[in-house]
Symmetry: C2
């Protein structure tokens, strides 16, 4: 609980209307989109500007009060669950688009802007901001930056990190710093911009961001390729890229996912095939047409049983919506949905999908797998019930084996969801003790009192690794 | 000077052949491509593998011996000048291309590989590594990574940082860590990969890198647009991009540069115009042709006096070579050549060029300006004589005013050359005391004994800022 003096000082910074500590209000911010994680904050505070954020951080640093910066809480790694209590920082008043600069192709925003609102404002100018996390309808750009969010267009266009070129950030000691700028190139010192992107609120509070924009592609085409063989679908992914075509989107859905999505969305998806690739290309019309033709040839050569090109933008949109709805669709199966994020080199997709299937069978679970196949970024998603402790133990074992396998294949424990509280115990599997120590040294340098989103990224203990016997 | 015990231990790590401390050998590594900086190292050491690098760092950390990792020393910020003595680390034995992975579109290399050798090996596979620093014929990829090198294709394709996806690095304490991997997406903890890129050898020694490759563009076209008005040339740059075309290359050369380059290279460059834009576009043929046509229209509308499209690849190559030769050409004018790197938002190019001209006149200097106009990254290059102390004082004042102006226009003190020893006194102008403090905290966290390339990035004192009166 906050001491009276901290409470009073917080109120004097943000005014009474922007401070809340009733049980109801705290309950609302006690969890995020991650199942099975809940913890009560001591208060919820909504600053109106950077100066107030600076005052809040100085105060919390002095009194050792944890700070949890929070956008819309759509993350899937318990990154904004206030695991150690403290103050949840909301950005509902810092939600302005400050400027769209059409000469320099940049947008400058406050962290609380809803991602899709920002994208609409950008598209009105004929410009393009490619990162499109599935939660973009409700996520904030501040949350996207803190998590380095990915999306369906990462293969060709990269992720949030690749578009952040300048930041204003507040350090735990209250210092306000600016990194980068409206600059295509800047090597004045260490790359703090990219260090802060994806740092999950554990180093600084981001109060403003300048993002790079690009011209809107002229056209876009969407295709579905259907497979009776998982391996063939995975092989098509590698083959398309080895043929020197980088599609905008190269998504994979397995049969269990197809069934639940079709049941949910009723858009006529085929449910009698083993796997589907959703492929999109954008760019100048003649290039898109040529690429789509080549992609279709590759898929046919790799034994796709059917290839369907969306005839209209409505049809294409329905397909994309189906893919975006995958999580919601799986969530209808059982009370608890755990969506994971194992990522491997693209060439190992077939092996990874096979391993997920074997592990699912071994532990008698319901796991639907879909994801960004072109990025090697798969989302095995388990429909389960947190109240069934016996099953949850099996779920945990299964996911541990999935992470183990991803790392064995040269991959990582998280491609786009972040570490948060959920993956923290597994981080050492990827980084080894020395890598964790290097990251902890940075954390300690910025935040010696560990007030910034404590309990995230770094775990008290690492999970023991499974010994794989062959 | 190294103590006997350190010398013996170094020899026992790398063997006698790979240790040198004669005056001649030390002299060779006492300077880099940056004029006016020279300082003798105590020894020069060439390790053969990562384990040896680790042993060397542990030893130097124990005995507080500075370490200066060095590629080919082509940097222009005195980044590899051993300003505080110590051991220069050479990578002549760690110069292998480990693997080109055509499925995952990656190359894995040791730091000592010559950039152009690497690019040739990549191009043989029909793949493309875009960063092309002007020194690429002799620079090493390790040097490029440490400096986050740019080049002529940065506008469309980004810089070195955008292609480094995995690193092996040795920390000052001897720990060997691995970051990233052959992964399109990885958010497992802080982005150490990008933190190390551009860290100028002040944090870690990079011993292996995995770089992202892309398919080779199908075709490329080159154009010269000539102007009798500097402002019109600069305006064309903004207009092309505001017209939603991102050319591969958008280079600017002013008249003084044109004259020295033509005098040097004799390729028929026009010397009777005030400025030239060298514009390239690559991609599918139909797109390139369409873009070049639109670009020509924009340039004409902005009062280009002539537009010439290179008829053959040889002609295009001559134009590119002329641009690449700018530094060498200016260097023939006088004994000392100081090439700077002020960078501004693209929309401010005209203002920046004007300011450089005014400052040149004010201080009666010879400054040729060329650079990556599309990136807002200009290289005002001064032909002078380091022995003329009176003139050198004027040179220093002029560059200080140029940096001041760049920052006033929302720019930075260095776009692609790095801070090193040369720009260190100016870094605070860009970052303010709070930004420097944040970076120093990272330095201290990684390198508490300050053995990693000491004297670089962080200066003992900041230059006083010029007070601009209007």
């Amino acid at each position: 609980m906050l001491s009276n003096i901290v409470k009073e000082k917080l109120i004097s910074i943000v005014t009474k209307e922007n401070f809340a500590d009733s049980k109801t209000e705290r309950l609302v911010y006690s969890y995020d989109a991650t199942p099975n994680f809940q913890s009560m904050p001591d208060a919820v505070v909504a600053p109106s500007n950077t100066a107030e954020v600076s005052e809040i951080l100085k105060l919390c640093n002095e009194y050792n009060v944890p700070i949890v910066p929070r956008g819309s809480g759509t993350n899937l790694c318990a990154g904004t669950c206030p695991t150690e209590g403290g103050v949840v920082l909301l950005f509902k008043h810092m939600n302005k688009i400050i400027e769209i600069d059409e000469d320099n192709l940049t947008i400058t925003v406050q962290p609380g802007v809803i991602t899709l609102d920002m994208i609409h404002a950008i598209e009105e100018k004929g410009l393009f901001y490619p990162p499109d996390p599935s939660s973009m309808k409700i996520s904030t750009i501040g949350g996207n930056i803190n998590e380095n969010s990915g999306g369906l267009r990462g293969l060709k266009y990269g992720v949030t990190r690749d578009y952040v070129i300048g930041l204003e950030a507040v350090l735990p000691n209250g210092d306000i710093i600016r990194t980068g700028g409206k600059l295509a190139k800047d090597v004045a010192g260490y790359d703090l911009t990219r260090l802060f992107v994806g740092s999950e609120g554990t180093l600084v509070v981001i109060t403003e961001a300048t993002l790079k924009l690009i011209p809107m592609p002229e056209t876009r085409k969407t295709m579905l390729a259907l497979y009776q063989d998982l391996g063939a679908a995975a092989k098509s992914v590698s083959k398309i890229i080895a043929n020197k075509i980088i599609p905008t989107t190269l998504e994979f859905l397995d049969q269990p996912t197809l069934k639940v999505v079709e049941d949910f969305a009723q858009i006529g998806l085929p449910t009698n095939v083993q796997a589907v690739l959703l492929i999109e290309q954008d760019g100048p019309l003649e290039v898109v047409e040529r690429d789509m033709k080549k992609i279709a040839e590759v898929c046919k050569a790799e034994h796709a049983v059917s290839i369907q090109v969306a005839a209209t933008e409505e049809e294409a949109d329905a397909l994309r919506t189906a893919r975006r709805a995958a999580l919601s669709a799986v969530a209808r199966l059982k009370p608890t949905t755990i969506l994971e994020d194992a990522t491997v080199p693209r060439s190992e997709i077939a092996n990874m999908v096979q391993a997920i299937n074997d592990i699912t069978e071994k532990y008698h679970l319901t796991i639907c797998t879909f994801g960004h196949a072109g990025d090697g970024n798969l989302h095995p998603t388990c429909a389960t019930d947190a109240r069934n402790h016996e099953e949850m133990e099996r779920v945990e074992k299964a996911f541990a084996e999935i992470f183990e396998k991803a790392i064995e294949l040269g991959g990582t424990i998280t491609g786009e969801h972040g570490v948060g509280a959920m993956k923290a115990p597994y981080l050492e599997w990827k980084l080894k003790a020395e890598g964790i120590a290097a990251m902890k040294a940075i954390k300690q340098a910025f935040d010696p009192n560990n007030i910034m989103n404590p309990g995230k990224v770094f775990a008290k203990d690492s999970k023991k690794r499974v010994v794989i016997t062959r």
